[in-house]
């Protein structure tokens, strides 16, 4: 489920990448990413706190993490 | 010119690796401020946006001239940081940190006086001289600051950081730029009051008039009114007084010492009366400030 204002989409191809998951958890200042076992999980209740800093997008291979502003569509 | 800071003012940031300080460094640099170093104990050797980090203020001051320091460390360490700046010869210290017990603020102020240094704040957003430099978070991002602040003839002093920007933005929109804007801080004891900054504006040929933002509490407006009368200031002043509703709030007095020291408490109505009696125009709304300034300047033949 998306937030009311923000959605973050992670390409399923990289969702299992433990190293990347760890990096995403580290960079996001508002804890939108979490790790369940080795799998990356999006913390839905935090989605709307996203500050649009783009750090997650920069940390991941191009095009694999997307931050979507739902109020723009 | 401007007061306190200009293009060539060299500045350091104490607590430079903190979250807010990192932003302040980036935006200060991009506004054109000469930030020559930073201090965070134990972090020497790092850099923040190219600004080298040191363990001690001394490590910077022994190598170069440092005109000012921005102190943005947790409240419990602020007194120590301010002492360090002053004892290493820095003459201008902007204290951003809030919630410092006033006993400690008084110690900083007393030491500054002893050493001929000046403190702005605490609990303030700092100083901004448009197109010159900014010390502290005033105006926010450099691009936002450029929108709200423009170089010009008005000196601005405000007890509220946010309202400093609001007022400057209103002045800018009306075509009145600012020489320097100072967020002086909202605490009971601050390093520099309106009256203490007036001589600097008075001596600055670029400043032609003053706008101030004022709040309930304290005696700073009374002090300003006296200063203006005693010194026959050349500068017309327009003040905005916020929080008038507080006069009707159920206040509580306790003990007599405050009254004996400072006389009867100054309500906002008292403050307005005092300022008007000293020839200071008081605006009812922020948007009246530009016209009042222009009228006052015209009246005194200032262009």
């Amino acid at each position: 489920m998306a937030g009311m204002f923000i959605d973050v989409k992670v390409d399923p191809k990289v969702a299992g990448d433990a190293a990347l998951a760890k990096k995403l958890v580290e960079v996001c200042p508002v804890n939108i990413f979490a790790i369940d076992g080795t799998k990356l999980r999006i913390v839905e209740e935090n989605l709307d706190e996203c500050v649009l800093c783009d750090l997650c997008v920069q940390a991941a291979p191009p095009g694999t993490v997307q931050v979507i502003k739902l109020y723009e569509s | 010119m401007s007061i306190l800071i200009h293009k060539d003012t060299t500045v350091i940031i104490q607590g430079i690796t903190g979250r807010e300080a990192v932003n302040m460094t980036r935006e200060g640099l991009s506004y054109g401020t000469k930030i020559v170093g930073g201090v965070t104990p134990g972090r020497a050797g790092r850099d923040v946006y190219g600004v080298p980090v040191h363990d001690c203020v001394r490590d910077i001051t022994k190598r170069m001239r440092v005109d000012g320091s921005i102190v943005t460390v947790p409240a419990a360490f602020t007194r120590d940081a301010v002492f360090e700046a002053i004892e290493n010869g820095i003459k201008l210290v902007v204290v951003v940190t809030e919630r410092i017990p006033r006993g400690e603020v008084a110690q900083m102020v007393e030491l500054a006086k002893l050493r001929g240094a000046r403190i702005i704040g605490p609990n303030c957003l700092g100083i901004l001289s448009p197109d010159e430099a900014k010390m502290g978070g005033l105006g926010g991002r450099a691009e936002d600051a450029k929108k709200a602040f423009r170089k010009g003839p008005i000196g601005v002093m405000s007890r509220s950081g946010g309202m400093t920007t609001e007022i400057c933005n209103t002045l800018t929109a009306a075509g009145l730029g600012q020489s320097t804007a100072v967020s002086i801080g909202g605490d009971a004891i601050i390093g520099s009051t309106y009256a203490e900054l007036m001589p600097l504006f008075e001596a600055d040929p670029e400043t032609k008039a003053i706008a101030i933002y004022s709040e309930p509490g304290g005696r700073m407006e009374a002090e300003l009114a006296e200063w203006v009368k005693e010194n026959r200031s050349r500068l017309p002043i327009v003040a905005f007084m916020a929080g008038r509703f507080m006069d009707e709030m159920p206040g509580m007095r306790f003990g007599h010492a405050g009254t004996i020291v400072e006389g009867k408490a100054d309500t906002t109505a008292d403050k307005i009366e005092r300022m008007r009696a000293a020839g200071i125009a008081v605006a009812e709304r922020i948007e009246e400030i530009p016209a009042l300034l222009e009228a006052q300047m015209r009246k005194r033949g200032i262009h």
Partner: protein, 400 residues
């Protein structure tokens, strides 16, 4: 933060200031027992966070335990300047030869502590200060030099006191200054400081005020005196709404939703920051609006916090709409506040477009903020609309 008289005296007693025998009574029975234990005539003083007890009749003298119990019942219900009593201090009645005044507080202009001393103490001290300035001395104290008693001596001697009185008073005044410094007080006052018939000095009444920002630093003292962290000790006790406001602020460390104060109007205010709130509250009232509350948001609050505050304000009976307004912001983000208030409306089951009378927060990230508001049909304005004008637009929408 104010201390009750009995707490102030407990603090004084720890530091060896001379005090009479006394006990706090919470019931008439307590009062009777205390009077019996003290023996002889006693004075009963209601414990309230306000001056003016004497004039309100909340101080009475009793000759025996039965009378003490009766007086307890008489003075406990008396409300002094809106303040309820938390108990009655029963204290031995002392034969007084002369009353003195000593206070330590901050002189905001000199930015130093100042010791005030007078040999004409008592309830009319402010009048004395005006009419007999030579009987009131003001002596500033360095905050850098170690404090030594000569400052106290000079303060006392300046009113003409000499001889044994001077040497006996000096350590008392010096001690009060030390207490002032040690506990980050903003006021330490003894009035009257009484000279008894036998030449001894005794603290008859005293007050201290602790700096709010130093509460954490002196937690141990407060715990020992039984002062709980949630006691605000404000001009009036906090309302339920205000307590919940403080909880919203404490629930999340990001940003501030501070100083939530309840009023009884119909227009909820989500406003900031400090100076902006003062300005906006005035503006709403000037336009004839009736605010339901005051608050100061700032410091870039999280969406969660802005949302929780919005919900709190909307939960207040009689609140029809809210106005969301701030000065031009540089640290707080327009888009984050916009998300919070829109979400708060939706989660309260209200339509943001109808509920938010106006949104006036210009500044950082305003483009994103305005897109959000546009999507939800909320009326907003940028910096070209003044705070005053925005408040006017909000008020104009009320009562239609």
């Amino acid at each position: 933060m104010r201390f009750y008289e009995y707490e102030s005296k407990a603090l004084f007693a720890r530091h060896g200031l001379p005090l009479g025998k006394r006990a706090l009574a919470r019931t008439a029975d307590d009062a009777r027992r205390a009077a019996a234990e003290i023996g002889g005539p006693v004075v009963l003083k209601s414990q309230v966070l306000s001056g003016g007890r004497m004039k309100a009749g909340a101080v009475k003298f009793a000759d025996d335990p039965a009378q003490a119990a009766a007086h307890f019942d008489a003075i406990l219900p008396i409300v002094v300047n809106g303040q309820k009593s938390c108990g009655v201090l029963v204290e031995e009645k002392s034969p007084i030869a002369q009353e003195y005044y000593v206070g330590v507080t901050w002189d905001g202009r000199r930015k130093l502590p100042v010791v005030i001393f007078s040999d004409m103490g008592g309830i009319d001290i402010e009048e004395v200060a005006e009419k007999h300035p030579d009987h009131v001395s003001k002596t500033h104290v360095s905050t850098l030099l170690p404090f030594t008693p000569r400052v106290a001596k000079e303060a006392i001697a300046a009113t003409g006191v000499t001889g044994n009185d001077l040497t006996r008073l000096t350590p008392i005044v010096a001690k009060l200054v030390e207490i002032f410094f040690q506990y980050d007080l903003t006021l330490a006052e003894i009035n009257p400081l009484a000279k008894l018939a036998d030449g001894r000095f005794i603290v008859l009444d005293g007050h201290v005020d602790l700096e709010g920002d130093a509460r954490e630093k002196h937690k141990k003292l407060l715990d020992e005196l039984g002062i709980k962290p949630e006691e605000t000790r404000q001009a009036r006790p906090p309302t339920d709404f205000e307590i919940r406001g403080a909880q919203v602020d404490a629930s999340d460390h990001r940003g501030v939703a501070g100083n939530v104060v309840e009023f009884d109007g119909n227009l909820g205010l989500v406003i900031g920051a400090g100076g902006g709130s003062l300005t906006l509250f005035d503006a709403v009232r000037k336009h004839g609006g009736r605010p339901a509350n005051y608050c100061e948001i700032g410091g870039n609050p999280s969406v969660k916090k802005a949302c929780a505050l919005t919900k709190l304000v909307l939960s207040k009976p009689g609140v029809e709409k809210i106005a969301v307004m701030m000065n031009v912001v540089s640290n707080t983000r327009v888009d984050i506040v916009a998300r919070g208030v829109v979400k708060g409306c939706v989660e309260s089951g209200r339509d943001p477009a109808k509920t938010i009378a106006i949104f006036r927060i210009p500044g950082s990230w305003e483009a994103d903020g305005f897109k959000i508001l546009e999507k939800y049909g909320v009326e907003f304005c940028d910096r070209s609309v003044s705070m005053y004008e925005a408040a006017g637009r909000a008020v104009a929408k009320m009562g239609k």
